[in-house]
C-alpha cells in the first residue's frame, strides 16, 4: 500500500507548509527588507535580434510578405494585412516600403527587430509620395542613381555577352545531340512502314479464309435449322405417345374396374368364403409371433381384413388398380404392381410370412421354382407361407380376358415346397373341399 502512504505523507507535508505559510507571512511583516538581488544576467537575447534588408528582400511576393511578418512581427500575417501588402506590391511599391510599414508599425516597434539601414531608405521611399516634392525627389534619386545604373548596365552587358557565348555553345551541343535522335526517328519511321506493309499482306491472306469461314457459318446455320426441326418433330411424337399412354391407362383402369366388379359379384356367390378365410387366418396367425409382418399377393380385401383382425401387420400387392384403391380406402397398405418386380426388391429374411390365396394366377407369370426360391429368401427363419388353391379375383380376370383357367396340382406344390426346403407342410381343409397349404421356413 505504497500509494496511500505517499498520499498521507504529502497531505501531512501540505499541512506543515500551510502552517509555515502563516509563519512566513508574519515573519515578512516584521522584515520589510527584501533579500539581496541575484547576480545580474545580461539581456537574454531572443532567438533573432537583427536581420539585413537583403535577407528579407530575397523572397518574392506572398512568400516575401509572410517571411517579413514572421521575422519582423513574429507571427503569420492576418488576412487583412496580407491583402493590404499584396495590393501595395501589385501597385508597384518597393519592398523597402513594405518592410518599413511592418517594422515601424506599433507592433513592429514593440517586437523591435533591428534591420540596419532600413529607416533612411524607408523614409526616402515615403518622401517620394509627397506631392510635387516627392516627384522631384524621385527624379533626383533617379538622376543620382544614373552612374550606378550605367555601371549596372555595363556589367549586365558583359554578363549577357558571356551568357550569349555559353548559350551558343549549349545550342551547338544540343544540335549535335539532335542528329542521332533524328536518325533514330527516321529508323522508327522505316520500321513503321514495314509493319504497315506486313499488315496489308496479312489482310490479303485473310480474304479466302474469310470466305471459308462464311461457308462454314452457312452450313452451321442449316444444321441448326435441321436440329430445331427434329426437336419439333420429337416433341410432337412425345405428345402423341403421351396421349396413347393416357388412353391405354384409362382403358386398363376401366378393365380393372370391370374385373373387380365381376370378381366381387362372383365371390358373393361363395357363402363358405367368410368362414373359410376366418379359419385359415386363425390357424395361420397361431403359428406366427404377435404383430408379425405379412405380405399378401393378390388376396381380396376380406382376406386382408381377416388377417389384420388377428393382429398381423399386413402389406398387400395387387395388380388391379381398383382393388388396390379399395384396400387403400380400408386403411391398409398396398402396392399396385407386378408381384415379381416387388418380390425381387424385398430384402432377405425381412418378412414373417407370405400369403398367396390365388396361386394359379401367380404361377401364370412366375414359375413355381423361382417363386419358392424367393419365398425362402425373404421369409425369416421359423416364418410361414400360405398358398390357397381356390379361385380369386385375378383368376376371374384371366377368365374374363379369355385365358384358360390355370390348374394347380396341390400334391405337386406340396412336393415342390418340400424340395425347396420348407418344413411342416400341412393342408388346411374346410367342408366344401377348398384347402390351402401352410409351410414353415426352417430355423
Amino acid at each position: 500500500m505504497k500509494k496511500p502512504d505517499a498520499d498521507n505523507s504529502l497531505r501531512r507535508i501540505k499541512e506543515e507548509i500551510r502552517a509555515e505559510a502563516q509563519v512566513a507571512r508574519s515573519r515578512a511583516a516584521h522584515n520589510p527588507r527584501a533579500a539581496a538581488a541575484p547576480r545580474a544576467i545580461g539581456e537574454i537575447a531572443p532567438a533573432r535580434t537583427a536581420v539585413s534588408i537583403d535577407e528579407l528582400a530575397r523572397f518574392q511576393f506572398i512568400e516575401f510578405i509572410e517571411h517579413a511578418y514572421s521575422v519582423l512581427l513574429g507571427r503569420s500575417p492576418d488576412s487583412a494585412g496580407l491583402t493590404q501588402q499584396i495590393r501595395l506590391l501589385e501597385s508597384g511599391r518597393s519592398k523597402i516600403e513594405i518592410l518599413g510599414n511592418l517594422r515601424f508599425s506599433g507592433e513592429g516597434r514593440a517586437v523591435g527587430v533591428r534591420v540596419p539601414w532600413l529607416l533612411p531608405r524607408y523614409l526616402l521611399a515615403k518622401a517620394m509620395h509627397i506631392p510635387l516634392i516627392g516627384y522631384a525627389i524621385e527624379w533626383l534619386v533617379c538622376l543620382g542613381g544614373l552612374p550606378r545604373v550605367l555601371r549596372h548596365q555595363r556589367a549586365a552587358d558583359a554578363y549577357h555577352a558571356a551568357r550569349d557565348h555559353v548559350l551558343r555553345e549549349d545550342l551547338a551541343a544540343l544540335g549535335a545531340q539532335m542528329q542521332p535522335l533524328r536518325e533514330e526517328i527516321a529508323r522508327l519511321d522505316r520500321e513503321r512502314s514495314e509493319v504497315v506493309a506486313q499488315m496489308q499482306a496479312l489482310g490479303e491472306r485473310f480474304v479466302p479464309l474469310h470466305a471459308e469461314i462464311g461457308k462454314a457459318f452457312q452450313e452451321v446455320r442449316e444444321l441448326r435449322h435441321l436440329v430445331l426441326s427434329m426437336n419439333h418433330w420429337l416433341a410432337s411424337l412425345r405428345q402423341n405417345l403421351a396421349a396413347l399412354e393416357a388412353a391405354e391407362s384409362e382403358h386398363l383402369r376401366k378393365a380393372d374396374a370391370v374385373h373387380a366388379d365381376v370378381a366381387a359379384r362372383l365371390l358373393e356367390f361363395d357363402p363358405q368364403r367368410p368362414a373359410r378365410l376366418r379359419h385359415w387366418a386363425a390357424e395361420f396367425a397361431a403359428g406366427l409371433p404377435p404383430a408379425a409382418e405379412v405380405l399378401d399377393i393378390g388376396g381380396g380385401l376380406d382376406w386382408l381384413q381377416s388377417m389384420s383382425s388377428r393382429g398381423l401387420v399386413v402389406t398387400a400387392i395387387n395388380q388391379n388398380t381398383e382393388i388396390g384403391q379399395h384396400i387403400r380406402d380400408a386403411g391398409l397398405t398396398v402396392a399396385v404392381a407386378e408381384p415379381s418386380v416387388v418380390l425381387a426388391r424385398i430384402a432377405d429374411h425381412s418378412l414373417d410370412a407370405v400369403t398367396i390365396l390365388d396361386l394359379a394366377s401367380i404361377l401364370r407369370g412366375l414359375p413355381a421354382v423361382i417363386l419358392l426360391d424367393m419365398m425362402r429368401r425373404i421369409v425369416r427363419p421359423t416364418g410361414q407361407v400360405l398358398f390357397g388353391m381356390g379361385a380369386e379375383s385375378a383368376t376371374i380376370a384371366d377368365r374374363l380376358e379369355g385365358r384358360a383357367r390355370a390348374q394347380v396340382d396341390g400334391e405337386l406344390i406340396e412336393r415342390a415346397l418340400q424340395a425347396s426346403g420348407f418344413v411342416r407342410i400341412r393342408r388346411l381343409a374346410v367342408d366344401d373341399a377348398s384347402y390351402c397349404l401352410i409351410a414353415d421356413q426352417p430355423n
Binding site: 507548509i17 515578512a28 533579500a35 544576467i41 507571427r75 503569420s76
Partner: protein, 361 residues
C-alpha cells in the same frame, strides 16, 4: 483511405501545431496518405495545403479528417459538414474571453467567437470527440457532444526533442549563482496568472531573505502589451526588477537550460486545457508547485504540490520546503518522471491514438 489534418494556423513551436504534426507523422507511418490543411503556416518543414482543398482530398466515405479546434473558424465547420468519412475533432480548449477584458479587445472578441462555435462543433455529429484532458472533454459534452463518442487523448508534444537537445551551457552557468530560481514557462497572457506568480515570488523573497530569481520564459505578445506592462509594474512595485529575468522567444537550448537550472517550476495559471510545460518539467526533473485550476490537477496528478487557493504565502512556503526537504523533492521528481513515462510519453500517446483509429484502419 486518405487522411486530412485540419488546423487554422500551423506553427511548429505551438502546442496545438506540435500535436497536429505528430498525428500527421503517425498517420504517414501507418501508410495512410496524409495532408495538413490550414490557412497559414510558419516555421514548419512539412508541406501544407490550403484548407479549401481538404474536401476534394479527403471528403470521401473511406477517408479520415481530424480537426484541431482551438479558435473560432467558421470555414472549418463548413468544410467538415461536406466530409462523408470518419471525422474527429480534437478540442484544445479556448481561453475564456473574460481574461482579456482589461487587456485586449481583439483577443476577447477572438475568444468569444471561438467559444460561440463550441455548441456548433458539438452538434456537428463527429464520429469521435477528443479532448486533451477530461476538463476539455467535459466542456464539449456540456455543449452537447455525445459522451459515448468522447475520449481523452493528451496532446503530442516536443518534450523528447527538448530532453535530447543540447542545453545552453552559458545560460546554465549564468543561472547557477547560488540564487533560488523560480521558473514559469508559457506565453505572456492574462490567463497564465503572472501577477499571482509575482506576488508569490515576492512573498518568498520577503519571508526567506535568500537570493532568488524569477525566470519568466515565454513569448511576449505585443498585442498584449497592456498585460505585460501590468506585470512589469507589479514587479517594480515590489522592488523586484533585478530579481526577474525575462526570456522571450527562447530557443530549445535556452528552454532546456532554464528547466535544468531552476529549483522550482511554479505555475499559477488560472486556465489551462492541458499545460504541456508541466510535462516538460516532469521529464526534465524540475519540482512543481502549481495552482490547482482547470486541467492542471489532472495533468499534474501526484507529481507536484498543488493548491486550490491563490494565497501567495502558500506557494512561497511550498518552494521553501522543496528547497530544504530532499526526500520531498526527490519523491516528487521520481513521481514526475514515472508519470511522464507512463502517461505522457509520445510512445504511450501514439499507442492510444492508434487504438482510437483502429475502427477505421
Amino acid at each position: 483511405m486518405k487522411a486530412a489534418i485540419l488546423i487554422p494556423v500551423l506553427t511548429s513551436k505551438d502546442a496545438v501545431g506540435a500535436d497536429a504534426l505528430a498525428m500527421a507523422r503517425i498517420l504517414d507511418e501507418l501508410g495512410i496518405e496524409t495532408r495538413v490543411f490550414c490557412q497559414s503556416s510558419s516555421g514548419v518543414q512539412r508541406r501544407t495545403w490550403p484548407a479549401e482543398e481538404m474536401v476534394a482530398f479527403a471528403g470521401g466515405p473511406d477517408d479520415l479528417v481530424i480537426y484541431h479546434y482551438s479558435t473560432g473558424w467558421p470555414l472549418a465547420l463548413d468544410l467538415l459538414r461536406r466530409c462523408r468519412g470518419l471525422r474527429m475533432v480534437k478540442y484544445h480548449n479556448i481561453t475564456p474571453p473574460e481574461f482579456f477584458q482589461r487587456y485586449s479587445g481583439d483577443y476577447r472578441t477572438a475568444c468569444e467567437n471561438g467559444r460561440k462555435e463550441l455548441e456548433k462543433v458539438a452538434a456537428l455529429g463527429f464520429e469521435m470527440y477528443l479532448g486533451d484532458s477530461s476538463y476539455n472533454l467535459e466542456e464539449l459534452i456540456a455543449a452537447g457532444a455525445p459522451r459515448e463518442r468522447s475520449r481523452v487523448l493528451a496532446p503530442f508534444h516536443r518534450v523528447q526533442e527538448i530532453v535530447e537537445a543540447e542545453a545552453d551551457v552559458a545560460l546554465i552557468d549564468a543561472l547557477t549563482d547560488g540564487a533560488r530560481n523560480f521558473l514559469m514557462v508559457g506565453r505572456v497572457a492574462p490567463n497564465k496568472g503572472h501577477l499571482h506568480l509575482v506576488e508569490a515570488f515576492s512573498a518568498y523573497v520577503r519571508a526567506y531573505a535568500e537570493p532568488a530569481r524569477l525566470i519568466l520564459l515565454g513569448k511576449v505578445d505585443p498585442r498584449l502589451h497592456a498585460y505585460t506592462e501590468a506585470i512589469r509594474q507589479r514587479i517594480d512595485a515590489h522592488g523586484l526588477g533585478e530579481h526577474v529575468l525575462w526570456i522571450d522567444g527562447a530557443s530549445e537550448a535556452q528552454l532546456k537550460a532554464a528547466y535544468l537550472a531552476s529549483h522550482v517550476f511554479m505555475l499559477m495559471s488560472e486556465h489551462e486545457g492541458f499545460c504541456v510545460p508541466l510535462v516538460e518539467a516532469m521529464a526534465l526533473g524540475t519540482p512543481i508547485v502549481a495552482h490547482a485550476s482547470s486541467a492542471i490537477p489532472e495533468t499534474l496528478g501526484d507529481a507536484g504540490i498543488a493548491w486550490q487557493e491563490q494565497d501567495p504565502w502558500l506557494y512561497a512556503a511550498s518552494a521553501a520546503r522543496l528547497f530544504t526537504d530532499d526526500d520531498l523533492r526527490s519523491g516528487l521528481l521520481e513521481r514526475g518522471r514515472r508519470r511522464y513515462r507512463q502517461s505522457f510519453s509520445n510512445d504511450v500517446l501514439r499507442q492510444r491514438f492508434v487504438e482510437l483509429l483502429e475502427p477505421v484502419l
